[in-house]
């Protein structure tokens, strides 16, 4: 098992390197020299830019060097924890990201939990009571849910909430608390606002998950080992959860890995629509304004999370499924 993990970690390195390369190239795509854009932006705002500062930046990031050299300098900085400066905000990238990261993770974790809480029971019910009225209803709702792009769902929810419940949505805080220091009241305010984003993001993946769970479970429900359990005298509920559901969970686990990058990106489009102060809108703005290091760092982070997430899925799967675990132990 450990050898398996080590091997996977080993293979991860070239993938990560390749990803960092792609991230770097993506940032370099927009034409123009960032530094000149930066300077002209600052001057347009009426600020005076110190020549020494410019030379400093130029050296720090090797902006007058060739692309490969720039890449190496950038990676070198990144590995030391220097993620660069945001041109747009004129602050270190790490500060900007860090501010938003906690909120993003809170939001994402909340929506993932909601998704699982709904999807599992509904999926199991749908499979066990196949063709019942409940199954039809859930399947139809599921189909519709899958078809509505979730950012549109967010918009619709916002309109509905405002028109019928007179709740002003958008943002994670009321104006008073937005920039205030953390306090219990601020936390309560957060909770009051966060439930709509959680519902929107949570329900987005619920439909898909229900379908997967239902399909997997249907595959297993009529297998002989379920009959054996019944023949032993076990009750329906226990034997369904213990045997076919357990088996049906395996393909499920491989999808867990994809939730990790979500923790960081936090469903970008919904965040934009709902004006949430998460990392998503930050990335979008950075890409639009060619804020090179901010965008690059975020893209890199997301990609790394994705790869790590896949690795965690694989390890989880290997651990959970005795067939894989034992065969690994033997090899």
């Amino acid at each position: 098992m450990t050898r398996f993990i080590i091997k996977r970690l080993f293979y991860m390195v070239p993938t990560l390197l390749a990803i960092s390369l792609v991230a770097f190239l993506i940032i370099q795509l927009p034409p123009g020299d960032f530094l000149s854009t930066y300077v002209s932006n600052r001057e347009a705002q009426g600020e005076v830019v110190d020549q020494a500062e410019i030379t400093n930046l130029r050296n720090r990031y090797g902006l007058d060097q060739s692309l490969p050299v720039q890449y190496i300098i950038w990676m070198g900085n990144v590995l030391q924890g220097d993620f660069g400066q945001s041109f747009q905000h004129n602050r270190p990238v790490s500060d900007l990201i860090w501010e938003r990261l906690t909120l993003t993770m809170l939001l994402s974790t909340g929506s993932i939990i909601l998704t699982w809480l709904i999807a599992f029971p509904v999926g199991i019910y749908s499979a066990v009571r196949q063709y019942s009225m409940g199954d039809y209803i859930f399947t139809t709702i599921g189909f519709i849910g899958l078809s509505i792009p979730n950012f549109l769902f967010a918009l619709i929810l916002m309109v509905v909430a405002f028109k019928f419940f007179n709740i002003s949505v958008g943002g994670l805080f009321s104006p008073d608390y937005a920039t205030a220091a953390w306090s219990w009241e601020k936390f309560v305010d957060l909770l009051q606002h966060i439930w709509i984003p959680i519902i929107v993001i949570g329900t987005a993946s619920t439909a898909g998950l229900i379908r997967i769970m239902r399909a997997n479970l249907l595959d297993e429900l009529h297998r002989p080992y379920v009959t054996t359990a019944r023949a032993k005298g076990q009750s329906e509920f226990v034997l369904i959860v213990r045997y076919p559901v357990r088996e049906a969970l395996n393909p499920f686990v491989s999808t867990i890995g994809y939730t990790l990058p979500q923790l960081v990106s936090g469903s970008i489009i919904v965040a934009v629509v709902l004006s949430l102060p998460t990392t998503g809108p930050l990335l979008l703005a950075a890409l639009r304004s060619q804020d090179m290091y901010l965008a690059g760092t975020l893209v890199l982070m997301l990609s790394v999370m994705t790869v790590v997430g896949t690795l965690i899925s694989d390890i989880l799967l290997a651990w959970l499924d005795p067939r894989i675990r034992v065969s690994l132990g033997r090899s």
Partner: protein, 341 residues
């Protein structure tokens, strides 16, 4: 009902499909006498023998349903707490049914490969059965599981108890199934083609094992198979099924020496004889099993029967009659003999 452990009367299990109704079991009568006896149920694929077995424990899956008949189980036979329970009338998920399943009537299945869950150890699956019916601690159950594994001939049971089913061979898995089924000391063991999926040598071993376990535990057995050789070795009584009905039931010796129903006779004739060389003519039963949606009228076997009575067999559905020597047969040939007496 005194010496009958299990009596099935007029059992009908039908499957309601979109294309029509498949009458997998259509009026089966079976008797299992005494204790420690083995009743074999034979027939070709599709004759309904497995469905009959599943019906006994109410394990028939949708859209199948028991629509008629009784399955009378003589519980605690020979003791003061004796009672007769109609299994067909019980709700499949009721407490009573669940306590009978595994605790008093156990079942083993055809495919050991897929009949055990790959997610749990062999020991867990056995202890689950034990703890469902006995109030013992985990450790005790675990020890009992180890004992059972030893009894079914699995080497090194202390280690093997923590193995997963996929780590064992087909024959070992079937032994595990047997251990699991017998772990609660049932009065009746139903074995649905337990050796069909195994290779010939393992088959012999498993049959031998079941035989000796029967001697040791004293349980009755219903053995479902299409292999007449196995029947000859192990069974005391045999029932022959065709298209959802029992067409003949008798003790094993009489069946092989003097088969009564034309179908049984044709079956026995069709077995190739060892040693006769390649010049031997094969005697298959002419025709083929009819489409389950279009059953023949009258006697279900008549289209393929060379002893059929023209004009009668296609119209009259024979009843199961008892011949003078105590055997049962469902054929007009014997009804007439009876009537003419």
């Amino acid at each position: 009902m005194d010496d009958k452990l299990l009596e099935i009367k007029g059992l009908k299990t039908h499957f309601h499909l979109d294309q029509g109704v498949v009458k997998a079991v259509d009026g089966v009568n079976l008797v299992l006498h005494g204790s420690g006896k083995t009743l074999g149920i034979v027939g070709e694929s599709g004759c309904g023998k497995s469905v009959t077995a599943f019906s006994i424990l109410q394990l028939v899956s949708k859209p199948g349903k028991i629509v008629d008949g009784q399955i009378l189980y003589n519980r605690n036979m020979g003791t003061s707490s004796n009672e007769v329970v109609d299994l067909a009338a019980l709700d499949p998920n009721s407490k009573e049914m669940r306590s009978i399943r595994g605790g008093e009537i156990a079942m083993i299945f055809q495919e050991p490969m897929t009949s055990l869950s790959m997610m749990y150890t062999v020991g867990f699956q056995i202890t689950e059965a034990i703890r469902l019916h006995f109030n013992v601690s985990k450790q005790e159950a675990h020890q009992q599981a180890i004992n059972m594994l030893g009894k079914v001939g699995i080497p090194d049971p202390e280690k093997r108890v923590n193995a997963y089913p996929f780590e064992l061979s087909g024959g070992m898995r079937q032994r595990v199934m047997i251990a699991m089924a017998l772990s609660c000391n049932p009065t009746l063991l139903i074995a649905d083609e337990p050796t069909t999926a195994l290779d010939v040598t393992t088959q012999a071993q498993i049959i031998e094992l079941m035989d000796s376990l029967q001697d040791e535990f004293g349980m009755s057995m219903i053995l479902i198979t299409h292999d007449l050789g196995v029947v000859a070795e192990v069974c005391d009584e045999v029932a022959v099924m065709y298209l959802g009905e029992v067409v003949e039931q008798s003790d094993v010796d009489s069946l092989f020496n003097d088969p009564q129903h034309p179908y049984t006779q044709a079956l026995l004739r069709s077995i190739p004889i060892l040693g006769q060389g390649r010049s031997q003519q094969l005697n298959p039963i002419k025709g083929s099993i009819p489409d389950p949606f279009t059953r023949p009228t009258g006697c279900p076997f008549h289209p393929r029967c060379d002893k059929r009575i023209e004009g009668r067999c296609e119209h009259v559905h024979p009843k199961l009659t008892r011949t003078p020597d105590g055997r049962m047969v469902r054929c007009l040939l014997y009804e007439e003999v009876e009537e003419s007496r």
